[in-house]
Symmetry: C2
Subunit: 133 residues, 2 copies
DNA sequence: TGTTAAATTGTAATGAGTATAAATTGGAAA
DNA sequence: TTTCCAATTTATACTCATTACAATTTAACA
């Protein structure tokens, strides 16, 4: 944990808490969800600090934000490249483990690609099965 | 033009103006950009109407909104499936014409896919060339 | 031409994210 | 250890894209 902090970042309990939360909750939570949940154990926590921590971690490529939801950013521990699926019924955001074979074509066009986001939207497997009772 | 309106939608000058704008400006504009530009020729236009029209057109699959920019929705005439590239330097959003070969895998996992969004971010070709003066 | 449901308009409200400045603190130097 | 200061946290105010609402207007049909 602290090991990650050897990105020249100060080790603060707030940052550790945010990282721990994202590590244990792979649900792509919003900043507000993280804030609300962490606030319970640490009532002095400020929402600004959550935003600041998320920003800092993102700038150091430790986490990433995804824009699959139109109204708010979702946060994700940065692991191997993967895509996301948003269920329009239950709201869950599911990891889709696959590489994108299209990056090459984009690079071939002369653009410098720094980020790749693959978003699918529809009805998730669980909701589909529930429907067929 | 009016032909498209045979989606059971009333033909209003406001809706026609929004459609015409998106047809002539393939720059993935924001709602506010559309509003500001159309307001010049039609000063009585309301911003709410722009939002309403965009919503309605999207619900009828005539246009689509893309979430490549974290702070605001961008709108796009719905043509063949394509991906998008956002230049972090000049802000341009460029069409990347390619299919996504990954949809199948997602469907295979049991999810019902209704939308596919492919977003790349980085530095566009034009900005790269400018850099190398 | 008259009628009415649907669309437009203006205004107020919402809410995610940002700006700011004062108070606190991690961690290096003494 | 103690001191010290730049970095961080906190509380609060603010921005601004989008939505809610209610009154007014209008497209389309008889
Ligand atoms: Mn993920
Ligand atoms: Mn496009
Ligand atoms: Zn679901
Ligand atoms: Zn560019």
């Amino acid at each position: 944990m602290e090991i990650l902090k050897q990105n020249q970042l100060k080790i603060t309990p707030q940052r550790l808490a945010v990282m721990k939360y994202l590590d244990e909750n792979r649900t792509h939570p919003t900043a507000d969800r993280i804030y609300t949940d962490l606030k319970e154990k640490n009532p002095s926590l400020s929402k600004t600090t959550v935003y600041n921590s998320l920003d800092t971690l993102q700038n150091h490529n430790i986490i990433q934000s995804i824009t699959i939801s139109p109204s708010e950013l979702r946060y994700d521990f940065k692991k191997s490249m993967h895509h996301h699926f948003l269920c329009k019924r239950c709201g869950d955001i599911i990891d889709i483990e696959l590489e994108c074979p299209n990056i090459k074509k984009t690079i071939d066009q002369g653009h410098k690609v720094e980020e790749v986001h693959g978003y699918f939207k529809g009805i998730c497997k669980k909701c589909m099965e529930k429907q067929e009772k």
